[in-house]
Symmetry: D2
Subunit: 358 residues, 4 copies
């Protein structure tokens, strides 16, 4: 198979760097086009990120010497890319993602801008790949030819959303109270000041609780004509905390079901849970999307964040709850599954299901 | 006033060190007698803790050269002390606290051993000082002369118990789901291995969730004849996490009331809340037991743990909850309010109310 | 004594905040005038630092409601202040410190701008208070009436400079190789990104090694007419590292003397060392400027940084060196002794010796 | 090639776990025999380390169910292993390593016990593989048949020893003053208490400075008859510090040469440096043993410890020294290159050079 040519919008930021690092040696995708802010345009990528390349691996050799383009060079992008990943800040995303789509370029976005646009699907491929079916309507209503926009949800909810969904179909998740302990990489770079977080935790992350509560309802929603109707049968309340951890968001979850399952039923559903990415054997799909650990003190960010290359969710500590039905702890890698890796899995799904083609 | 002579059982451990450090220059209490394990008996205190004194202040000069006694030298203790603080591990506490009480020595304990003994009051002085009224019955039923046992609850619940109690009387706390982020000093020394907690959090602390859920019910209970009946109108569910913080336990609390208050009513009750320790103006009583911070990102362990010498509880982020009525964040200093400082406040109360005298 | 009225230039930054926090209740000084950037001018201080007050204590009540002035309102400052502390960034310091001095306002500066100006004394009061004698010459050569500039050296050298000086007079320090482990507060706020320093150290701090090597030579220098001649008999080589510590710079020092002292002589000189601030009993002077700790593993930042309110230097681990004569470890609080506290001690000295008066 | 059967002495400790984790899928070696303390003997490995397996990867499946033997079952070991890795504490190593050698089992040791035994080679394969030539003499003098003992040096010196050696042959390293910043994993588990190291550094590691200073002299020594004579032309002075880092020891090095090289000569020698492991293309040999980084702020533990699977040494910041000739910073992974990985490389060398055979 000839590889797809990929552009990255916002290539010099933390999320852009994660895309570039994760896409090295991707079997289907070739990074060939980069854009960033005016300041970087015209520079080689390695010059533009000199002194602020934050990945552990080196800059991939095929990207190092790419010249950075202006975000406004949409025609140039169109001429060179089959689709783009958007790692733009939400303000810039608002201005440009639709322009790219209009120009015929599919946009697989990490930004929050279009998460609640009614005809833009917000995808966790194991959960709601069927929401992609709204794409033709999205294109039609805008009069777009080949372009469209697909987004992924916030990193904070990846650690509990799939484990809840795996139980939801059979037992109906009705209420969930969640406290997250989130890693500093979620704030980008420089992000959280070390002075604020060494020997400390910060019980507040701007906007994060709202995202953690509202985005799941769209993901569990149904397509109704030209929009995705939010699920209205679930109440979520989230406390979001920042902790001095490099990578890995952890969530303490208390959950009430419409019909209370047994502990064995829950463990069994998690063990056997597979989604479309597993069926299609997508390159970034974790073999086992939900890994349950028996040890009393797992999951832990440093030990479990990299499970199945950072794409699996690890859960543990399933136990009865005095107030609701059950409690458990979930963990996912926020910059892999929760950001660039999740975007890549979305793109793989779009390619495999024929939404993106050359 | 002539000062009371104080003994400390388990004087060389972390809690014992905290007692010794906090009692320096106490206006009422004089540390004159120390016991520790066999290994330390006979040594000067400064020798016994050489290389393992973990307090920031130096060993107080009046304690430095005290000879450590055997825990079994109860008669020697009786001859030299008006009462003792027990900083014993629960196993040793089980063996010795009753013997001290039997010998006529009041025991103000930090250990978990007698927390659920039916006629032993478990006191947070701002909340349930009236439970002290069971002491005469306790003494009588054992045939004890001057001795008795009083305990304090676990450190994990200090950050939410007083704020909930301040609202409970008027509005009835019915359900609470709580996630704690607890400091490493709570595990003593060496306690948590650095290898386990740097760049990490551990979502499990053995026995802590049970304590966090059950102890509040006794504290809210009522004396009924010769026992304290547990309150049965409150359901608590706790997730307890260890985080890389030196001191200060934080709790994310979601709470449902029998009668939902307004936000203003809650803030007003917290602002005005005072307990017996404030009325009696006890030396270790915080002037304002509950301090509410308006900033979006407070309380934080490093910034708020020392408020009013570590004896106040700091709360913040009061906001509506999508599932229950309200959410907030509470914080208290686990080794001060949550351990030795709480024990000292209990002793001050016992003295002031005449339970302990010379 | 009527208190001096004090202005603070750069009052909203980290160093400015430290000055304001440390000066609360100062027996001689009253903070009455504040300046900051254009953005803050006109606002109340508490508004200007809202959301970015980084001190553990609250904003002192007498400062909270002060209106911030423009840095260019020099006449207003002159009308209201006896002298100013400059907590300006070096660029702004370059533009304004001389203007303030010219206007007749003594400037006690923390900035690096004038550290190597030939007639500006760079003072550690225990070491080179005699350098103040150049002030009349400085004023005369500029034609300044009552104003002048005095600076303090960089925070990185406070942990080894006084211990070396205490030995230098008698034994002659000839060579020193030094590795520092520096706290993140030295970089201000936001300063070091948490993503860069959790589970990590950074073996580089821009400009810090040069300062650590060159500034000591001026401090040990002699006034020669209208300039301070640098001492040329000492070679220093510094490695400066950033470590995940909130406060407290530590230095590992290997030193060669012209005449090798015995270990006892060193300990004795450190024990007995006193400087002018101790003789004059200045409010911020530590009683014992150099505290030696016998324990094998001290000094440590978290345990020793606050000794004598953060103004003492703690040393330990004095032992023979295989290459030079001796090795030891020094520690000082970088934002107290190394910044605002050091500036305040300089001002106290200037007042007591009559350089500043009303 | 048929794989060698390997035993691990001290298999349940941190170093033993590292051996087991690193040897998974080793092309030449098969772990088939494990011993540990009495307490663990008879248990399956996975049972024995239950709740204390500290590696990020799972226990390899071929090891999980191995039954742990007693350390005294030497005959059983002999019957089942071609050689053993010793991850024993030094006390037990003293008792057993010679017994294993006597029984005809080559011992590749990580323990410090025999590091200064005159006829035991202490090997960094890139530096002194020729010291293996003393093995026949060692065997002969003890009357050992097929067994012998080979050791590796302490983890603290791996970050500077190879970079110094690469320059030593041509320019003669004469003096070195070194400060190390060492990771907590070097102390094993539980090792360093989190209470001692969060927001802190500890400027002392028992015994570490002596090892860092003395072991290099044996490594640079020469075989003289039946003993290895220590090199006497180099003076090293080490300051060893513990820092809150999980893995990776960093060293700040100041060095004086007999003949001062140019900066280019140093960089060139490092760039081109290759040793016997590279010539022999041993499985664990890093392709480039010394990696120089140009960035001003590298190497850093979190970013560079894993270079070439944790077996390369990363250096940076080469610059002139005001006191000696040059300064630089070195970094190596303490539990890989500095412990189990270094032991495995030693074993590969022994196999390839025919000292170990079936």
């Amino acid at each position: 198979m000839k590889k797809f040519n990929i552009g990255i919008l916002g290539a010099t930021g933390m999320v852009g760097q994660n895309y570039i690092s994760l896409l090295e040696n991707h079997p289907w995708f070739n990074v060939t086009w980069l854009s960033a802010s005016e300041r970087s345009a015209g520079k080689k990528y390695c010059e533009a990120v000199s002194g602020r390349w934050h990945m552990q691996k080196e800059i991939p050799s095929q990207v190092k010497n790419l010249r950075i383009k202006k975000i406004s060079d949409i025609a140039d992008c169109k001429a060179n890319c089959d689709f783009v990943f958007s790692a733009l800040d939400s303000g810039v995303a608002k201005e440009f993602e639709e322009k790219y789509a209009k120009a015929g370029i599919p946009v697989v976005s990490n930004a929050s801008t279009h998460r609640h646009t009614k005809d833009v699907p917000m995808i966790i491929p194991e959960i709601n790949s069927r929401h992609l079916e709204i794409i033709p309507g999205q294109m039609k209503s805008h009069g777009w030819d080949k372009g469209f926009i697909v987004v992924k949800p916030n990193c904070s909810l990846q650690s509990y959303m799939t484990p809840l969904f795996a139980l939801h179909e059979k037992f109906g998740v009705e209420k969930a109270i969640i406290s997250t302990l989130q890693a500093v990489s979620g704030a980008g770079h420089p992000g959280v000041s070390s002075f604020d977080i060494i020997d400390n935790v910060v019980p507040y992350i701007g906007g994060e609780e709202e995202k953690s509560e509202k985005e799941p309802l769209k993901i569990l929603g149904k397509i109704d004509g030209n929009e995705i109707k939010y699920f209205d049968g679930l109440e979520i309340s989230a406390h979001c905390n920042r902790v001095p951890v490099i990578d890995g968001h952890l969530a303490c979850v208390s959950v009430k079901f419409r019909k209370k399952p047994s502990k064995e039923e829950i463990l069994d559903l998690w063990e056997k849970f597979r989604g479309i990415p597993q069926e299609l054997d997508l390159p970034f799909a974790p073999k086992q999307p939900i890994i349950y650990r028996d040890e009393a003190d797992r999951p832990q960010p440093r030990l479990d964040r990299d499970s199945d290359k950072g794409m699996a969710v690890t859960v543990g500590r399933l136990r009865e709850c005095n107030v609701f039905d059950y409690r458990f702890v979930g963990l996912s890698h926020n910059t892999v599954r929760g950001a660039a890796g999740g975007g890549i899995l979305n793109a793989e799904l779009l390619v495999k299901q024929g939404y993106i083609n050359r």
